[in-house]
Symmetry: C2
Subunit: 271 residues, 2 copies
DNA sequence: CAAATAGTGTCTCTAAGACAATATCAC
DNA sequence: GTGATATTGTCTTAGAGACACTATTTG
């Protein structure tokens, strides 16, 4: 009779055909820009990290950072490692988006991608933007529904502008899936992954799950509101935002002075 | 200068070490049992399909159905194929649970699992229960929080009872992750996957996303309510359930007669 | 003082939970 | 008729959105 030990000694895993597995990460950050009016609070934009591919395939296209899973790590560790290698900063949160396994999605062969969203607080990554690899850039994100099930994704960084037109295929359980109708300079099926990542990000921003990760530990409620508004592309009344967020924050004794208006109290996230 | 074509010809994907990828599926069904009292509606239990492992590793343990991804299919197609092979019925819905990639989770080597929840309407699978493979059985599910972050999972089928004690590790974005503290006859890390699957199922049942999939196309509102109550282990007032569900259903002209009480109107899901 | 944001109070409307009351059938 | 579920209506309370109003700062 065969024992478990015997079985495992005879078992050769390389008898079966296997795929390569990568983790691709959509990293988001909020970037503020000072406005002309000294009184006004800074405007802000949602931005996404892309890297320009130096080699084939999709040479000179823009892609999400990512890389192959190694035997000594989990897929989440792989995602965190890849994004840290690119930015030198560990992301503060990592959310699963989905598995992309369609045939032909990578011309190199049978390569499957697990996609994640990661978030960085403003400032942590600022100095890094575009120096090291010189091919990693933060792109301003625009993702808008046009008509029916069609969406337009536009990513811009200075004069560089890439993007795609996508159609929502199904939305079975709050999980949207997209089909690429047109594609401008985005590598692989990454336009699809970015659209899915944005859907995940927006859903999580709606119920205050992820907005804190875009800010430093202490923040004003206006900043927090601005994060939510920027991600979701909506605007809400300050009074109502304050009431809804009040359960999730703790007030401190510090204030954000020096603006051209009444100082704002700083808050912390309630654990 | 190298062209993309040249690059792809030289590229050999087998230069890199690769994992095996499997899809494991937690299939749920509601089973009714007639009560003694002829007037009373049937009681119901949530049940989960497990198969007894005939070979090593984990011989004689109970496991989720699943199998290796093939090159010509997506991971969702693989999950659907595996569960259809087991039940002879195509599942009506398939929801992602997560990727399980911890080292040592499978003694055969580097094997990563993508987990899914699938749902069957009552009746479709009834005749199948335990005849074909004779090692596939539907287990009644009990999953209860005991103290703090501890949960007890109990799966029972006649005299067979398996289960586990789990601790909730993190709940970062509504996505719960568990650690196995004790394990009774559940193969691999499948206790962990089942706990995560139940968390997903309960969240989706809360907002009426998945409850329809447990029933035939036409159903009474009481049946629908019973599905939600059974999955979430709660009880709600019929009047309130009716009001909340009304936007999601369309009434038909048919009635469910023959019970020992007033006939109930049949409804359909609103598309 | 003017302009901007910070912060509080209140009104209305909707949704949810609790509960009362009526309807209808099989035995 | 009795006992069960089916179905409708109403009361109360909590929360969301809209809006009015006050407070505080810098140039």
């Amino acid at each position: 009779m065969q024992s478990e030990k015997d079985f495992l000694q005879q078992y050769n895993i390389s008898d079966y055909e296997r795929p390569s597995l990568t983790a691709d990460v959509a990293s988001f950050m909020i970037r503020s820009q000072q406005l002309d009016n000294y009184r006004q609070n800074a405007g802000s934009r949602l931005s996404l990290l892309l890297i320009r591919r130096g080699g084939y395939p999709f040479k000179d296209y823009w892609a999400l950072p990512g890389g192959f899973l190694q035997p000594d790590e989990t897929i989440e560790q792989c995602a965190a490692r890849e994004i840290t290698e690119e930015t030198n900063v560990a992301p503060v949160s990592l959310m699963p988006v989905g598995i992309f396994s369609e045939q032909g999605r990578d011309p190199r062969g049978w390569i499957i991608s697990a996609a994640y969203v990661s978030v960085f607080p403003e400032g942590d990554v600022r100095q890094q933007a575009g120096d090291d690899a010189a091919d990693a850039r933060w792109f301003d994100v625009r993702f808008q529904q046009t008509s029916g099930k069609d969406y337009v994704l536009t990513l811009s960084c200075g004069e560089i502008s890439v993007g795609a037109v996508l159609e929502e295929e199904k939305k079975d359980f709050g999980i949207a899936s997209f089909r690429i109708k047109e594609n401008r300079s985005i590598a692989f099926d990454h336009a699809k992954i970015i659209a899915a990542a944005l859907t995940v990000l927006r859903r999580r921003a709606k119920n205050f799950e992820v907005i804190f990760d875009f800010l430093p530990p202490k923040f004003t409620l206006s900043q927090l509101q601005r994060v939510q508004e920027t991600i979701m592309d909506i605007s809400v009344l300050p009074a109502n935002f304050r009431r809804k967020i009040s359960d999730y924050v703790i007030e401190t004794d510090e204030y954000d002075r020096g603006a051209g208006h009444r100082p704002a109290r700083l808050y912390q996230r309630r654990p």
